[in-house]
Each structure stands twice: as C-alpha cells, then as structure tokens.
C-alpha cells in the first residue's frame, strides 16, 4: 500500500521495518518528527535524550548490546555528538547503527548552514543522501545492512525539504532482527591508542570495500538522455535538476555519497560533453570530481549558500531573471514570529530590557525572539548552552576593568539548560564568575513543538519519570544564591533582578511557569492551578492611549489608532496579566465571570 508521507515519517517507518529496537534523539528542526514518529511503534524503545551526544552514546551502547539502533539530530546537533561519532567509526558496531543528520540549506530554523557531508568524509563513515520519502525508507533499511556488513555506523544525511516534503511510499513489513549476543571484546571496543591505531587502519580499508559498493549499488545510477549537459547531483538537488532540465540533460544521481564512486563518475564524464555539479552548500562532490582530473562547473557558477531551488538553477544556467513587481514588493510587510499571548518569557524580558549596564547573553529557544522588537533584550546567540559559558567569559573580562559596572545576565530555557547549559553552569561555579544565570523554565521543550525533557517528569511515551529539579542542581553545584520566581509577576521579576545585580557573587534565577501551548500534566494542573483561564479587557474610559501595553509585544493587544485607545482580543488573551501590571492607569482589568 502506498502512502503520502514526509521524509521524517519515512525514516521512522524504515527504522521500524529494519527491525530497529532502540532510538534516541534530541529535538531539532527539521529532524524532530523522526523520533516522534518512531515513538509510535511499540517495538522500538524510544527516548528523548538530554542532548545529541548522550543520544548517540546510548545508541552506541544499544548497538553493542546487540540491537539495531538509530540516533537522529539536526545538523548542529552532530557537532555536539561529533566526539562519540568519530570514535564510533573506529570501534564499529555489533548490531547496525545509523546516525541521521538533518541539514538546513536556507537556514529556516538554524543558527548556521553547515554541510554535514563533511563529517562522513572526515570520520570515514558510509553516507546515504535520499531525495524523497521512498528513498528515505529504502536507503535507511539498506544503511543498517551496510553498517553490519562493514562494521561501522552509517551517516544518513537529509535536508529540510527531504524531511518535510511528502511523497508516495510503498510500505513494507517489519523484519525480524533478533538481538545479537554481546561478546566482550576489549581490543575492539576500547579505543586506547594501542587499539585505536589498528582500528584506524581497519576504517581506511573499509573505504576501499565501500568504494566497490559505491560504484555498483542501485543508489548511484546514470540516467542517459541528451548528452550536452551531464549533471551530477545528490539528495533533493536531483529533483530540482530534473525539474529544470528534464530529458534535456543526462544525470549521475548519487544516493550513496561516501565514498564517492570513482568509476561511475569517470564513466559518466566520458559519455557527456560537459559536467555540471548541482549540490547544496559545500562543493563536496565537486572537489572530488575535480580531484579525479575531470573539469566541471559547480560553485564557480552556483551559490554556496541557500537552497538550489529550480529557480536558482534556472537563473544561473539560462540567465532567467525573476524581477519582482515593485508595487507588490513595497506593499509587503513582515509577519515576524512573536512570543505567544500568555508566554511566560514576556514578563521577564519586559523587565530585563529596561536594565542599564547589562549584557544579556542568550541562547537557543523561543526566547531568542527577545533579541527583536520590542524587547531588544538579548545580545548574543551562538549555540545550545553558550549563554552561560559565554556570559561567564564576558563577566570575567568585565570584572578585570577598573570600576566595572557591566553585569552579564545569561538566559536560557529549561531544555537548553539540561542540553549543555548544565556543563556551563559548572564552569561558573568552579571558576567563580559574578554571573547572573536565568533559567526560563517553561516546563517543556517549546520551540520544536512541545517535547518532554528531563525536567518535565514525563518520557516521550508519556510515562511518569523523575522530574529533575534545576534548583536542586544549582544548589548542589554550590550556588548560595538561588531564587525561584513567577515570571508573570513583574514585581517578583524586578525584585529578583535587583537582588541579583546587587550581589557580588554568582546567582541563579529560575522563572517557573508553563508554556502557554503546553498540554499540562496532572502535576502542572496542580502547581499552576487556574493558569491561562482569565481574560483581560481595556476600559476605554480609563485608557490614556500611552501604548505602554503594546511594548510587552503581546499579539493579543491591538492598538486602535482611530480612537487612540488600546484593546485586547478576547480570543487570544489567556490572562497572564503582564499588560495590566504595565498599565500606568489601571485601564486593563480582568473580565469578571
């Protein structure tokens, strides 16, 4: 039976059909839905890990214990997991293991546009690059075979469009893959130098046998049509190239891309007049083809950034221009993402943005929106967890300046704290910087769409588990100044900031209130009783039109320019009351039932 499913869903299905028994991931666009879908199969033990490194390490353990296992992550997640990834390639597998990387050409929801194909080359792991959902499923099943046959983890490289596009997939049955016995093998699994040197030789030799596979496998194929242009491409670029050139070009479509198939590339080059490489991001295939001594066009004509969408290819090859209608263009206004009505981050950033002599070092989550209007209360964003350690370094330097008044406030969410912020906080405790760390604990991993994390008290399968306390962690690290506050109470936020800024030693503030979109657990309902049930309104007779309430950036607040009065959309308001606390004349009031 054929179904129209996304690449992420197809990978999940492929994992199930391949007999996978263990899956772990940290959420990250566009990879999140892989584990969410895997978790719907009861035969696979699925886990949200605190971060990508722990996810991959537990997958290594699962593989050694004899179960086929899969770790999935966004491209930058593999940076976090790079340490185990490289050495996993050395020690190899027991049962098959696959690492999915979801890259983001075009950067829809990421801090950079790195090309993770370089990881496969560098770690010398086999790599697949599917172009559509059917290939996602088929190649994933094959990836487990390759992993076991060559005793090495496989990198499975997807991109946003492959992850999030739907195409038809023929579904199959689950293979019965029994758990392999674990055999103690210190020489194989302990990567000390004496063992690791021969391991590296084994990995290098592996590349030779994998090259034979690459030249002969069904995933790398020549499609001969017109011979004037020969396109070499992988992943979704194949689909875009087909769209532009149709049968007017010949194709070397690559689905298995490390190692690359020398013989096939040479054969293809001999059959066409001119080689053009179409790939997103880095000249990964191009540099290889050039190194074979084959002349080609690649990044000398195509951009290295952004997606290689059909219109991009067309404009480069045919000089086709896509002039925009000026009248239309000038009429378009932005629709920026905003913190939701009732978002518990609002009250905190409203207060923080008003502070002087403060550097706010930020992190990755919904709260990164605080860098924009109207808050402008976040000054750095680098990577997960960086807020605290970056802030630590900055504070250490500021404090060497005589008469320093600058204080650093590091802000990160609960999930980001558990991800890697926890390590950074250790740095602060150990190296004694006068840093103010604020954990915005909204009781969920919000930006990627409401995933549980070590603080929520619930697993991906909804089982009750230990709800790790951030406050207890901070105290255990030795912080004497720890406060738990309700971010919707501006007086509490103000007071806590005054207190922290007045201290000559580090402090930790935890703002604890659930995300407005969270499906609350029984414990949440008890702790946050009555949350998100009120509605506020503006008494126009009292409103003086000062627009202070609009500076909270709440999407429920609509300023009526004709009347010069504010108003609140009752459909959107969930009663956080931040605007009412900001109003200087008490024009904003609770709607009494």
């Amino acid at each position: 039976m054929k179904q129209l499913i996304t690449g992420d869903e197809a990978v999940a299905r492929g994992a199930w059909e391949a007999g996978v028994r263990f899956a772990s991931a940290y959420p990250g666009t566009p990879s999140t839905e892989i584990l969410e879908n895997i978790a719907t199969y009861s035969e696979i033990h699925s886990e949200w890990a605190p971060n990508e490194k722990t996810a991959l390490e537990s997958v290594i353990g699962a593989s050694l214990a004899g179960a086929r296992a899969i770790a999935s992550m966004k491209h930058v997640g593999l940076n976090v997991a790079a340490d185990p990834f490289f050495t996993f390639a050395y020690i190899g597998v027991n049962a098959g293991a696959v690492v999915v990387t979801a890259d983001e050409p075009g950067q829809f929801s990421s801090q950079n546009e790195q090309d993770n194909r370089n990881y496969a080359k560098s770690a010398m792991t086999p790599m697949f690059e599917p172009s559509d959902s059917q290939e996602c499923k088929d190649m994933l099943i094959e990836a487990f075979e390759i992993s076991e046959k060559h005793d090495i983890p496989v990198l499975f490289r997807m991109t946003t469009r492959v992850c999030h596009s739907k195409s038809l997939v023929e579904l199959g049955e689950r293979q019965d893959v029994p758990i392999k016995p674990y055999v103690k093998n210190i020489k194989k699994y302990v990567a000390v130098p004496a063992n690791a040197r021969p391991m590296k030789v084994k990995v290098q030799e592996n590349q030779l046998s994998l090259k034979v596979y690459s030249n002969n496998c069904q995933w790398n194929r020549i499609e001969m049509n017109e011979t004037g242009i020969g396109i070499i491409c992988s992943g979704d670029c194949y689909l875009y190239a087909r769209e532009v050139f149709g049968d007017g070009a010949s194709y070397l479509k690559l689905g298995f891309t490390n190692p690359l198939p020398d013989d096939l590339i040479r054969e293809f080059a001999s059959k066409v007049e001119k080689i053009t490489i179409i790939e997103e991001n880095d000249p990964y295939i191009e540099e290889y083809v050039r190194a074979l001594g084959i002349a080609c066009d690649g990044k000398n004509i195509f951009p290295r950034n952004g997606e290689m969408k059909p219109e991009v290819i067309r404009s480069v090859i045919y000089g086709e221009e896509y002039p925009e209608d000026d009248a239309v263009r000038s009429a378009i206004i932005p629709r920026p993402p905003t913190l939701c009505a009732g978002c518990p981050h609002r009250g905190f950033f409203y207060e923080l943005g008003r502070r002087k002599n403060v550097m706010v070092s930020g992190d990755i989550g919904c709260y990164t929106l605080a860098s924009g209007a109207p808050y402008h209360a976040m000054e750095t964003t680098v990577c997960m967890g960086a807020s605290v350690s970056l802030g630590h370094g900055a504070q250490q330097v500021f404090d060497t300046i005589e008469g320093n008044k600058m204080r650093v406030v590091s802000v990160l969410g609960d999930s980001t704290f558990f991800h890697t912020g926890i390590n950074s906080l250790l740095d602060v405790a150990y190296n004694k910087s006068n840093l103010i760390t604020v954990v915005l604990d909204n009781r969920i991993t919000a930006m990627t769409g409401q995933q549980d994390n070590p603080g929520t008290g619930q697993t991906i399968q909804g089982e009750i588990t230990e709800a790790v306390s951030i406050e207890a962690i901070a105290r255990a690290f030795g912080f004497k100044n720890v406060r738990l506050i309700n971010p919707n109470q501006l007086s509490e936020v103000k007071e806590a900031l005054d207190w922290a800024l007045g201290l000559q030693e580090p402090s930790v503030i935890i703002t604890r209130w659930p995300c407005a979109l969270k499906k609350q657990t029984a414990l949440d309902k008890e702790e946050f009783k009555g949350s998100f049930t009120d509605v506020y309104w503006v008494n126009e007779e009292v409103c003086i039109g000062c627009k202070k309430c609009t500076r909270t950036g709440c999407p429920a607040i609509v300023f009526q320019f004709d009347k010069k009065k504010s108003s609140i959309d009752p459909e959107k308001c969930v009663g956080c009351s931040v605007c009412a606390q900001v109003c200087p004349v008490h024009a904003i009031q609770k709607v009494e039932a």
Binding site: S109, K166, Y240, P310, V328, I333, R335, F559
Partner: protein, 193 residues
C-alpha cells in the same frame, strides 16, 4: 499531463493543513503522483504558513518554482501578496482570495501599515481572482472553522478537479461529527467560484 502547481498560503490556525491534506487525498484517489511540501521554520502561532502541492503523471520537485504556480489558494491577503511571485506570469494564474486580514504584530502596535490595496495588486497580476469572505460564509453556516473547506471547494472547479468524489474524501478524513458540516462548506465554496 503537465504537472500542476498549487500553493496554499495563510497564517497558522487558519486550517491550511487540513485543506492541503484533503486536497492531496483527493488527488491520490484519482491516481495522480502527488508531492507536497510545507515550510515549518520558526512559525509559532499565527506565523506565515506556505504549503506547496504538485500533481501530475510524474512529479519530481516537491516545491513550486517561482512564476510557476497555476493556482494560489490564499487564506489571508498579505500572505497572498507575499507569495504572489510564485504565480505564473502569462496571465493564466488563478488566485482564490479570502478577503480576510490577520494583522501582524507590527500593525497591531502601529509600526507597520497593512497594505490597503492588496486585492488590487493581486488582480493586476493574476489572470483570474475569485475573491470571497470565506470567514463570513463560514459563519453563515454556523462554524468559523470551516472557512478552509469553503476555500478548498472554491478551488476545485478552477483546478478542473470536479470529477473527484470530494464528499467521500471529506468523510474519510474528517471526524464523523464534522463530516456533514464540512461537506456543506465544500459545496458552498464550489458554488461561489
């Protein structure tokens, strides 16, 4: 047949996801090859939503190329304007336009001005515009939420897809208690196009 290109554009919460789900299910029931792509990005509540749907004998790219959209199903005026560059330029492009404005935060707080003449700009560019207030029509039949199905109904005639058994597609993909309402909304939409 040549591949047909459709875009559904609006803001989160307007029901574009269900409309595109029904559209693709209908196309599949007719035996077409179908591909669909959604831009997720950082859209939270009320963020822009853009869904690409392509169908034909054999479809390669899941995304519609600039200047190649045959039909834009526009749930919100500004979002149609934002994606108007996708519409084919030979005067054969069709826009199903919902006369609905969802103000971005910049309009609500006064830093931006909502484009006054969106429909005029769209009409100047499109071969045909079928404009309606689908929210108002939805309210008339008793449920604001079926606005999306009204717009879908309005689209099928323009797409030449009337032969598909849409009543059955709706019955198979919508919660039982809402099937009749959605079928009614679909027929209403069809009659408005």
């Amino acid at each position: 047949m040549t591949t047909k290109n459709i875009l559904l554009t609006g803001v989160g919460g307007q029901g574009t996801i269900l409309a595109s789900k029904l559209l693709t299910e209908g196309l599949l029931s007719q035996g077409y090859d179908v591909k669909m792509s959604e831009v997720h990005g950082m859209s939270q509540r009320e963020g822009p939503v853009l869904t690409h749907v392509r169908f034909g004998d054999k479809v390669f790219s899941p995304i519609v190329e600039a200047k190649k959209a045959d039909v834009i199903i526009g749930f919100e005026e500004l979002e149609v304007l934002r994606n108007l560059e996708y519409l084919r330029k030979d005067g054969k492009g069709i826009v199903i336009l919902n006369r609905v404005r969802v103000n971005p935060i910049g309009v609500q707080n006064g830093s931006d001005k909502y484009p006054e003449n969106a429909e005029g700009l769209i009409s100047a560019r499109a071969g045909k515009v079928i404009a309606m207030d689908a929210s108002e029509e939805a309210r008339k039949i008793g449920n604001l939420r079926v606005m999306n199905i009204i717009l879908l109904g309005a689209s099928v005639r323009q797409l030449g897809l009337e032969e598909i058994d849409w009543g059955r597609v709706i019955a198979e993909n919508v919660k039982p208690q809402f099937v009749e309402l959605n079928q009614q909304a679909f027929e209403l939409g069809k009659s408005l196009s």
